[in-house]
C-alpha cells in the first residue's frame, strides 16, 4: 500500500465529510460529497495499480460515470431549489420534520 496515496485519500474523504456535515450551503455540501466519492476512487485506483488488476480500473471508470450521473441529478435539484425562490441552503428546507 502506498501510504502517500492512502493518506491523501483519507484526508480527502474527511474533508469531504466535514464539508457535507458542517456546511449549510447545498452547493458546498455537494462538493463535499464529490470529494468523498473521489477519495474512494483514488483508493480503489491505488489498489488496482498495486495489484495490476484490470477489474479495479474498470470499477474506477464505471464509478466515475455514475458520479457524473449523480452530479447531474444533484445539480438539477439544487437549481430547482434556487428557481423556487429559496436560498439553496439546508435551513430553507425544514418543513418536513417530526
Amino acid at each position: 500500500m502506498n501510504p502517500l496515496v492512502w493518506s491523501a485519500s483519507a484526508t480527502l474523504f474527511l474533508f469531504g465529510l466535514a464539508a457535507l456535515i458542517l456546511r449549510r450551503e447545498l452547493l458546498a455540501m455537494f462538493l463535499g460529497l464529490e470529494l468523498m466519492v473521489l477519495a474512494a476512487v483514488l483508493a480503489l485506483g491505488e489498489t488496482a495499480a498495486r495489484l495490476g488488476d484490470s477489474e479495479g480500473f474498470v470499477a474506477v471508470l464505471l464509478i466515475l460515470a455514475i458520479a457524473a450521473a449523480e452530479a447531474v441529478v444533484g445539480l438539477t435539484l439544487i437549481l430547482r431549489v434556487h428557481w423556487s425562490g429559496r436560498p439553496p441552503e439546508t435551513e430553507a428546507l425544514r418543513e418536513l420534520k417530526g
Binding site: 500500500m1 485519500s9 474523504f13 469531504g16 457535507l20 447545498l26 455540501m29 455537494f30 460529497l33 468523498m36 466519492v37 477519495a39 474512494a40 476512487v41 483508493a43 480503489l44 491505488e46 489498489t47 488496482a48 495489484l51 488488476d53 484490470s54 477489474e55 479495479g56 474498470v58 470499477a59 464505471l62 464509478i63 455514475i66 450521473a69 449523480e70 441529478v73 444533484g74 438539477t76 435539484l77 439544487i78 430547482r80 431549489v81 423556487s84 428546507l93 425544514r94 418543513e95 418536513l96 420534520k97 417530526g98
Partner: protein
C-alpha cells in the same frame, strides 16, 4: 476481463426487457402523437414482459462471473416488478419521464438481485436510487423538492460511504468479490457497506431521510418505495451478508422496531405515520435477515425473509393506495369513516390489522415466521424487544381503527370513486388469504 466480452445475457433477460422498454417510452414521448395513456401502457407492458422473461430465466444455472443466480434473487425480482405495477397503473405523469424513471429504478433493483460482485451491487444501487430522487422531486406535494433534496444528499452520502467501504475491502482482499476478509481494514470496509444497506432499509439511526421522503411523495410512489425499494434494500443486505456477523443486524433490528413504533405513535400526518410504521416493519425484515444469517443462511429462514416482504407488499401497497383513493392525508380526517364509507373502511381495517399482526392475517403469519426463525437462531433479547415494539405498534394501528369506527366524523368527505379502489380491496383480500394459507 473475459466477462466484458461475453456477458451472461440469459440471466439479464428481464433487465434487458426493462431497458428496451424505458428507451421505447422515452422515444415515444419524443413524438407528439403518442398519448400519455399509451406511454403508461407501454411501461406497464414492459414490466409484464419482464415478469414473463423472469419466468424463463434460469436462476438455477451456475453463476457467471460478476453475477449470481439464486432463487432468492429470482423471487425478489418478482417482488420488484409486482411493486412497480400499481405505481405505473396509478401515476398521473405530466410527460413520459416518470414512467421511464420507474422502469430504470426497477432495472437497478434487478441488477442488485443478480449481482455477485461489489461493483455490480453499487451500480445497481445507484441505478435504483437516482431515478427515485427525481421521482420524489416530481411529486405533487409542496414539499416534494425538499424531500428530494434530502433524499439525494443522504442517499449519495450513503453511496460514498459504500464506495469507501468497497475500496477498503478491495485493498484488503484484492478482489471485488463477496468473499469475507479477516483483515481489520477489510472488516471496517464491510461494516461501512453494511451501514449503507441499513441506510437504504431505513434502520435506526440511519432512517431520518425516510419519513421526509415518504411524506413528500405521492401515495402511490410511497407505496412503491415502501415495497420495491425496501425489498431491494433487504436483498442488498442479504447479498452483503457473507461479510458481516448477524448480531449487528439483530440489535439494529430491535432498535429499529422499537424506535419506529414509538415515534409513529404521535404522528398526525398519515403518510408520515405509515413511514414510521414502515421503519418498524423494516426492523422485522432486518430481524429475519439476522435470523437467516445466524442459522448459516438456511433456505428455510430465507423463506421467512421473503414471506415477510411478500406480505408487506400487499399490506403496504393497500394502505398507501387507500390514502390516495380516499384523499385522506391527516389523521383527524379518519374520524367517522367507518360510517361514511363502510366498505373501504373495512378494507383499511383489514390492512391495518394485518400490519399490526393480528391473526388470521398475512401480517400475523409473517411476524410469526420471523419470530420463530429468530427464536431458533437464539436471538432472544432482540426477540423480546421486537415483541415489545409490536405491542407498541398496536397503539397506532388500533388507534386508527378506533378513529374510523368509534369517533364522529367532523367534515363530510368528497366522494371520489377511484380506479385504485379495486387494488385496495384486492390487497385486503390477499392479506387475509395469505394469512389463512401462508404456504401459498
Amino acid at each position: 476481463m473475459i466477462w466484458l466480452l461475453r456477458p451472461p445475457l440469459e440471466l439479464l433477460q428481464p433487465q434487458a426487457v426493462l431497458a428496451v422498454g424505458a428507451l421505447c417510452v422515452l422515444a415515444a414521448g419524443a413524438s407528439r402523437r403518442v398519448g400519455l395513456g399509451l406511454i403508461k401502457a407501454m411501461a406497464g407492458a414492459s414490466v409484464l414482459a419482464a415478469l414473463l422473461m423472469l419466468m424463463t430465466t434460469p436462476f438455477w444455472a451456475a453463476s457467471p462471473p460478476l453475477l449470481s443466480s439464486d432463487i432468492l434473487g429470482w423471487a425478489f425480482q418478482g417482488l420488484f416488478l409486482c411493486a412497480a405495477l400499481p405505481l405505473l397503473y396509478l401515476m398521473k405523469p405530466a410527460d413520459e419521464i416518470p414512467p421511464a424513471l420507474v422502469l430504470a429504478s426497477v432495472l437497478g433493483m434487478g441488477l442488485i438481485a443478480v449481482s455477485g460482485n461489489l461493483l455490480m451491487l453499487f451500480i445497481g444501487l445507484e441505478m435504483m436510487s437516482l431515478p427515485a430522487y427525481l421521482l420524489v422531486a416530481r411529486s405533487r406535494s409542496p414539499q416534494a423538492l425538499e424531500g428530494a433534496v434530502k433524499y439525494f444528499f443522504a442517499g449519495s452520502a450513503a453511496g460514498a460511504i459504500f464506495l469507501m467501504g468497497m475500496a477498503l475491502h478491495f485493498a484488503a482482499t484484492g478482489a471485488l468479490s463477496l468473499e469475507p476478509s479477516t483483515d481489520p481494514l477489510g472488516i471496517a470496509g464491510a461494516f461501512l457497506m453494511i451501514a449503507t444497506a441499513l441506510f437504504k432499509l431505513g434502520a435506526v439511526p440511519l432512517h431520518f431521510w425516510l419519513p421526509d421522503v415518504y411524506e413528500a411523495s405521492d401515495p402511490e410512489l410511497t407505496a412503491f418505495f415502501s415495497t420495491g425499494l425496501k425489498a431491494a434494500a433487504v436483498l442488498f443486505l442479504t447479498r452483503l451478508a457473507p461479510l458481516a456477523p448477524p448480531w449487528a443486524m439483530a440489535w439494529a433490528a430491535a432498535l429499529t422496531i422499537l424506535f419506529g413504533a414509538l415515534v409513529a405513535l404521535r404522528q398526525k400526518n398519515l403518510q408520515r405515520l405509515l413511514a414510521y410504521s414502515s421503519i418498524s416493519h423494516a426492523g422485522f425484515m432486518l430481524l429475519a435477515v439476522a435470523a437467516w444469517m445466524a442459522q448459516g443462511r438456511s433456505p428455510r429462514a430465507s423463506l421467512a425473509v421473503f414471506f415477510y416482504l411478500a406480505a408487506y407488499l400487499f399490506m403496504s401497497t393497500g394502505t398507501f393506495l387507500w390514502l390516495k383513493t380516499e384523499g385522506v392525508s391527516e389523521r383527524e380526517e379518519m374520524r367517522g369513516l367507518g360510517k361514511a364509507r363502510p366498505l373501504s373502511a373495512a378494507a383499511l381495517a383489514v390492512l391495518l390489522l394485518s400490519l399490526a399482526g393480528i391473526p388470521p392475517t398475512a401480517g400475523f403469519a409473517a411476524k410469526f415466521l420471523v419470530f420463530w426463525e429468530a427464536f431458533k437462531a437464539g436471538l432472544y433479547v432482540p426477540l423480546i424487544l421486537a415483541g415489545l415494539g409490536a405491542l407498541v405498534s398496536l397503539g397506532y394501528y388500533l388507534g386508527l381503527i378506533r378513529d374510523m369506527y368509534f369517533e364522529e366524523g367532523t367534515k363530510p368527505l368528497a366522494s371520489a370513486p377511484h380506479p385504485a379502489r379495486a387494488v385496495v380491496l384486492a390487497c385486503a383480500i390477499a392479506s387475509i388469504l395469505l394469512g389463512l394459507m401462508p404456504w401459498l
